[in-house]
Amino acid sequence: MTADQYLLEIKNLSITYHAVHPPVKAVDGVSLQLRKGESLGIIGESGCGKSTLALGIMGLIKQGIVEGEIIYRGQNLVGLPEKRLRNYRWKDMAMVFQNSLEVLNPVLSIGEQIGEPLRAHYNLSPMEIDQKVVKLLEMAGLEPEWRHYYPHQLSGGMRQRVLLAMALSCDPELLIVDEPTTSLDPAGKNEILQLLQKLQKKLGFAMILISHDLGAVKKLTSRVMTLYCGRVVELGITSEVLKNPMHCYTRGLLNSSPNFFKYKDLWGIGGEPPLGDSVEGCAFYPRCCQGEESCRKTRPPLRYVALERMVACHKGGIETFLRAEGIRKKYILKDREIEAVKGVSLEIKSGEVVALVGESGSGKSTLAHILAGVLPADAGQVFFKNKKVEGRWATKMLGGMQIIFQDPFSATSHRMKVLEVVREPLDIIKWGSKEEREEEAIKALQKVQLPVSPEFLNRYCCALSGGQRQRLAIARALVTKPKLLIADEVTSMLDPSTQANLLRELKGLQNRHGFAMLYITHDLHLARKIADKVYVMYRGEIVETGVSFEIFENPEHVYTKRLLREAFRDLV
């Protein structure tokens, strides 16, 4: 690929602010390529270096050291003297700044400000400049009269359009837009976004869109890049990244956006980003839910992990916990055969809650038993953490896979006491001393909100209610701290409050520790609330699967449509 193919190519750019002590490395080894007319979105938390990157590309960093190469049309802009840089600014690269009241000069009228770059770059008469300003204002959707007014006399939305008009005044090839939609009302937001879309189609400039608003990124960009601590952690096609993020950080950002997951609770990413001194190893390690000690040693390189997707992670992105391929199971009765599961393939990643829904008799419990290794499959294989599940190795380890069965009455022995039941897994795998096991058991009981007084712990299981026994079964499954939980209708006997508390606890585990769950349920309201991905099962086959917001908003398969219609009919 020759350098002429790319409009803008950035190689290993690092920008360090030395005015503060210790120096803050705002941008750390960022590389990207942008073609003519392409649009790239940059997302990330506040303070991750997005604006610095934009300013760096424009050459506006005054108090920092810029290292690396910014190649625009084959010319490296780093280190160029200010006079030459000024030739590029506004004519080739323009920026729509973030804070519109500060950026506009309060003592100059709008017309004068928009005309400023025109005066600087072109030799035009005042009349021609005025005409151009009128045309620009019309293009930006403002009445031409406004050019006589001052910035403080315009609303926020109008000021944003003025900035846009200013940026487009010299017909740039590259437009960098920094947070165009903050502090705008929805109508204003939509208008700005539509305007940008229209202008990009009409004028054909390349665009770099920096935004918190993932909806804007989804609408306007074809590729998206995630920045964390000044480093690129994910890069790929926008629609794919937003549907299937492969880095824990991107996924955390998506989970925090209410406009994607309309029904799920908001969960931010725990912890804070590091202060800005260069971190050894992976910068995201302290907040990552699948981090290991080895992640701290070296910085993960940005690598291709799928077609058109690059991720900077030692584990190659979010790891897959469970993968099932071609599972088949047939029950043979006296005079007939029942195919309970016909060729099902399934994937559950770390930190994902997958809902498996379907009518009674569709084979969900059979599939769950096969995945946990309780029932042998006729055909197909199950892999847990990329190792084949054979025998019980996956369920008898700490931090492995656990299954909770559907019927709570047979899930706990009525001859055993409460404490013995919860302690049983640790007894069988012979973990720790007796006191440690009891301590873990008590902690697990507290998580499911069962009392831990000695007289309750010594009660026999036959003296507990259905809901208590179900919670007991859940506590027993949680005592081995599993990473993947297969929950077969585990909240069917619980009252709403207990169910809510329990699921909140599990979601907390998911958010902080990368806990994943396969949640089999009939209750679609609940599934809509907690699930990240949905598998719809009908008569032993998976008929539809996808991200939960897509399935619940736009189901495609006939059966899914019917199921959702039945479930959400009353909206109670």
Binding site: V374, R392, K396, I403, F405, S410, S413, V421, C462
Partner: protein
């Protein structure tokens, strides 16, 4: 533990309590046989065929051996044979039942057919043949009786295990890697034990009667003073029916047998009633 047993026993009905008392008395008599019988049980200690009274509380038999002493020592035999057989049958049968129920597949099928055959075989005639074949000795009797009795606990245990195997908590324990020994010790045996205990009492009743029957036919151990043997000697005495001797010689061993078997039956009924409604316990 003892408190629990005492509590349960208090709930027995009158026949049950009576049965328990009788069995305890028999046990005491058997243990303290040398102390409570004045006369020796295998040497003649008086004139033959003396009616009860005087130095001989229950009279003497044709050889002049004191009947009371014989009955006391005979209690030992009955208890030994009865409970020994029951224990052996329960242990062996229980184990076979657990293995067959848990493993399933070919071992299960083979065992089931074996059990079917054993049930069909008429036990008394075969026992007679085997007893005659192996020779008269108490151990042989116990073994032969156990050989015919293990099938009943085995079937009961197997059916329980088949039911338990499918319970979710067993499956859950298996997912944690529980081995067969753990499951047997922690889960199966406590569930199965009440049923096996009831069966054991019933088996012991049957074993006592069978042993008495074998001894009555003369196939028992001639040195042991089994009650059946006493009756055997009594009925072999020519003229037992024309004289009064049967009033003590035949009556008392027969009474002892009946009392023993009935009390065992009462106890087993009580146990069954106790175990049944609390089958979930």
């Amino acid at each position: 533990m003892l408190v629990k047993i005492v509590e349960r026993v208090k709930e027995f009905s009158l026949p049950g309590k009576a049965g328990l008392v009788v069995i305890l008395v028999v046990l005491l008599v058997a243990i303290l046989a040398p102390c409570i019988s004045i006369h020796p049980h295998n040497i003649s200690s008086g004139p033959p065929l003396v009616p009860p009274g005087g130095g001989h509380p229950l009279g003497t038999d044709e050889l002049g051996v004191d009947l009371w002493a014989q009955i006391c020592y005979g209690a030992r035999v009955s208890l030994l044979v009865g409970f020994g057989t029951a224990l052996l049958a329960a242990l062996g049968g229980g184990l076979m039942g657990i293995v067959s129920g848990y493993l399933g597949g070919w071992p299960d099928k083979v065992l089931m057919r074996l059990i079917d055959i054993m049930i069909i075989l008429p036990d008394l005639p075969v026992m007679i043949v085997l007893a005659a074949f192996f020779g008269p000795s108490l151990l042989n009797i116990i073994l032969v009786l156990a050989l015919f009795s293990w099938v009943f606990p085995a079937r009961i245990v197997r059916s329980q295990i088949l039911m338990l195997k499918e319970r979710s908590y067993i499956k859950a324990a298996e997912t944690y890697g529980a081995g067969v020994w753990y499951l047997m010790w922690k889960h199966f045996l406590p569930e199965v034990f009440p049923l096996v205990a009831v069966n054991m009492i019933r088996l012991s009743g049957r074993a006592i009667v069978a042993e008495a029957g074998l001894s009555f036919l003369g196939l028992g151990d001639p040195t042991s003073k089994s009650w059946g043997l006493i009756i055997h000697h009594a009925t072999n005495f020519k003229g037992i029916y024309y004289t009064d001797f049967w009033k003590w010689w035949l009556l008392y061993p027969w009474l002892a047998l009946i009392i023993m078997v009935i009390s065992l039956a009462f106890i087993s009924r009580e146990l069954e009633r106790m175990v049944d409604p609390r089958l979930g316990r």
